[in-house]
């Protein structure tokens, strides 16, 4: 304790000496554990690389907690300069026009040599306005992929090197796996909302809402109750009844990954960013990677998958010096070296093409690590597969989970459940529209 306070006293004196010229900005983030350590390392790298600016990262808990903290701080005029917000908070952040400084504007005014075309369209597309201007800086983006257990595949008499490509194969493989007794369930999934609804729709080039999935304006409404989605939810229910599919719980599906690790389920669909975690836990079996399955009778499938994760938003009410610091930091963050380092460490996607090229060696050494990037760049994004932008979307995701649970419990059929998603979601969208007009 004494040593600690001596050290901090020394640090304080040292910082007093250096503080004259330095502009300090706060960055509130939601990266705990190893990702948080890595993030601090990156910030340290920036702080050491120059003497004019200093970024101070603070961990604020989960994504919703970080966003809530930033909003409360903004109301109290104590906001940080940069805040990390998850993708479903995008609608809320965007609508708060007086509260945020769009990244394209920040970089035009304060950044040097900033080239928006260097970024991957499938990543930044999610975070641009209807004119294609970047609103926030992508930091950690991922996309769902398929992980499968090669050992179980082999036991079931399947080719361990061939993951299922279509949902028909998922069903067929799962049946073989269960009948042979190689595992007690075929597949599970994280994120019913993000993976089996939003990404599923983009992957099959189906809209989930009107007006380009909400990109077109606040009066967009949901349209996720289309025939393809209804068919898929109906199948999931059938497969759940047959035991081929096991539900891992709402939101991220906390119980899905353990079922895959314990070899109860032979396949899991989950974020590409959980790669490191999956590898660490797949100690007793051989792990394989594949793209998300699709229905081959749907025209245009597979299209491209969409991303999840979080971006960095700049809040208003700060001085020019602070914005200069933020712009310098963003230039540093999007440099190929930093991006490649962060992406290979975490499993998140690189956000610039240059970083992607730098990672070729890493991809060659780590088979399957490029599944995510291949998937999001599979085709030029359409208006159905660019992403989505709706207000109150945290709650709408909750509604998707709830209605899926109603479907599983047999209270509703797939059509009824998705109709309710649309009806209840639209009420929230209307409320959001009223709040923001």
């Amino acid at each position: 304790m004494i040593r600690y306070s001596t050290a901090s006293a020394v640090a304080l004196i040292a910082s007093l000496g250096a503080a004259n010229a330095e502009t300090t900005i706060d960055w509130w983030h939601a990266m705990g554990g190893e990702l948080g350590t890595k993030l601090e390392e990156i910030v340290q790298g920036f702080n050491d690389s120059q003497e004019d600016y200093k970024v101070v990262p603070s961990y604020k808990g989960t994504y919703p907690e970080t966003m809530t903290a930033a909003i409360a701080a903004f109301r109290a005029k104590q906001q940080p300069t940069i805040v990390q917000v998850f993708e479903v908070g995008t609608g809320t952040m965007m609508a708060a026009q007086g509260a945020v400084v769009p990244v394209h504007q920040l970089m035009e005014e304060h950044g040097e040599g900033f080239d928006p075309s260097a970024f991957l369209p499938s990543v930044v597309g999610y975070y641009t306005d209807s004119e294609g201007n970047m609103l926030s800086m992508p930091f950690n983006s991922s996309t769902p992929i398929l992980y499968y257990n090669k050992t179980v595949f082999e036991k079931a008499g399947l080719d361990p090197e061939t993951p299922p490509k279509t949902w028909a194969e998922v069903e067929e493989f799962s049946k073989k796996i269960m009948e042979s007794g190689a595992a007690s369930c075929g597949f599970t999934t994280g994120w019913i909302s993000w993976i089996q609804t939003e990404n599923f729709s983009a992957w099959h080039n189906q809209p989930i809402g009107t007006m380009e999935n909400g990109f077109g304006g606040l009066d967009a409404r949901l349209s996720v109750n289309g025939p393809v989605q209804v068919k898929h939810w109906g199948n999931l229910k059938t497969w759940a009844d047959e035991g081929l599919f096991k539900y891992g719980g709402p939101v991220g599906g906390d119980n899905a990954a353990p079922m895959f690790y314990s070899q109860d389920c032979a396949m899991i669909m989950n974020s590409s960013a959980s790669r490191a975690g999956v590898i660490a836990n797949a100690t007793d079996f051989e792990l394989g990677f594949g793209m998300l399955p699709y229905y081959d009778d749907v025209e245009g499938a597979p299209q491209n998958s969409i991303i999840g994760g979080a971006t960095l938003w700049v809040l208003s009410g700060k001085s020019d010096e602070e914005y200069e610091a933020a712009a310098a930091f963003f230039s540093y963050l999007s440099s190929p070296e930093v991006q490649a380092d962060w992406a290979s460490f975490s499993g998140y996607l690189p956000i610039t093409s240059a970083a992607g090229e730098q990672m070729q060696d890493f991809y060659a050494e780590n088979p399957g690590a490029d599944t995510g990037i291949k998937q999001i760049t599979l085709n030029e994004p359409t208006e159905n597969s660019k992403g989505l932008r709706f207000g109150n979307y945290v709650q709408i995701r909750g509604i998707i989970d709830e209605e899926f649970e109603q479907l599983l419990s047999g209270d509703k059929d797939a059509q009824g459940a998705l109709d309710s998603v649309v009806e209840r979601g639209d009420a929230l969208l209307e409320e959001f529209q009223n709040q923001n007009q």
């Binding site: 007086g98 119980n255 709650q395 649970e405 409320e431 923001n436």
Partner: protein, 292 residues
């Protein structure tokens, strides 16, 4: 009786000031804010605010989710109260009949009360976790497929057990004190008149315990309705399909997660009114019936 007269008019106010300030800052002011917010519609950042009158309340009354929450709260509060009071009474009677080691049992039984609701929630979440928990494993042996992630009934049972478990200690202490204050001579007299243990309990003990029981009833309902946020947040987060979304949790979720501050404020105003009613009930009835 000697009355103290303060010659200084200011001194009493000064002595009261800390309490008054705390009450104002932490109770009255936030409550007033909630009432104000309940009439407003606002975006998350507070950059656009408009007065909407009773629209937030009207919206609640049209919302099937809100009525579901009311129903869930009622089921939850009654179940927690019945379970925790029933168990506590049984334990208190058992301890009351013990001749030795009464103190040891009393001490042990009070322990859970010291556990924070969130910790209690995590504890039961582990025990009942469908993938790694011990109880689902045991239940599977007798043919029950426990899964509080997809089954509404299982989820409700989980939060009721976790919440009631914590409250048993508190109830137990009051019941034990109540039992020990009943004169032994009354029960002896009944025994001499030929009443068996069951008869003695229902004719002598239970009626004499009624002030304690009524007091605990109110305290437990209030506990179940307002103090179990931690348990819910740590176990089910209101799910599945809103099956455990009690009113307090819905206020938090709609306001803090959903950023719908107007609706959240309207819900907390409704809750405030409910607390008021419960407090009135407590004072009107408990004060009259409890024999100190």
């Amino acid at each position: 009786m000697k009355r103290t007269i303060f010659s200084n008019q200011l001194l009493p106010w000064l002595l009261l000031a800390p309490q008054l300030i705390i009450t104002f800052v932490f109770f009255l002011w936030p409550a007033a804010q909630a009432v104000r917010q309940s009439f407003l519609r606002e975006d998350a950042f507070g950059t656009r605010t408009s007065f909407v009158g009773l629209e937030n309340f009207a919206y609640l009354l049209q919302s099937p989710e809100y009525f579901n929450s009311l129903k869930v709260t009622a089921i939850f509060a009654v179940s927690v109260t019945v379970l925790s009071m029933g168990m506590a009474l049984l334990l208190a009677i058992a301890v009351d009949r013990m001749i030795r080691s009464t103190r040891v049992y009393t001490t042990l039984l009070v322990w859970p009360y010291a556990v924070a609701p969130a910790v209690a929630g995590i504890l039961w979440w582990f025990i009942f976790n469908p993938t790694i928990g011990i109880m689902p494993y045991v239940l599977a042996q007798v043919g029950y497929d426990w899964n509080h992630i997809s089954s509404k009934t299982d989820a409700m049972m989980l939060v009721v057990i976790a919440s009631a478990w914590k409250q048993i200690s508190y109830n137990f202490l009051f019941f034990l004190a109540g039992l020990q204050s009943i004169p032994g001579s009354l029960r002896e007299a009944a025994a001499i008149d030929g009443a068996g243990p069951v008869r003695r309990f229902f004719d002598i003990t239970f009626p004499l315990l009624s002030p304690t029981t009524f007091f605990l009833l109110v305290v437990n309902i209030v506990y179940a309705m307002f103090d179990t946020f931690g348990v819910i947040d740590a176990t089910t987060e209101g799910g599945p399909a809103q099956a455990t979304n009690i009113m307090v949790y819905k206020v938090y979720f709609d306001g803090f997660i959903g950023q719908n501050i107007g609706s959240s404020a309207a819900q907390s105003v409704v809750l405030m009114i409910l607390v008021l009613i419960l407090t009135v009930v407590q004072f009107r009835f408990v004060e009259k019936k409890v024999a100190y």
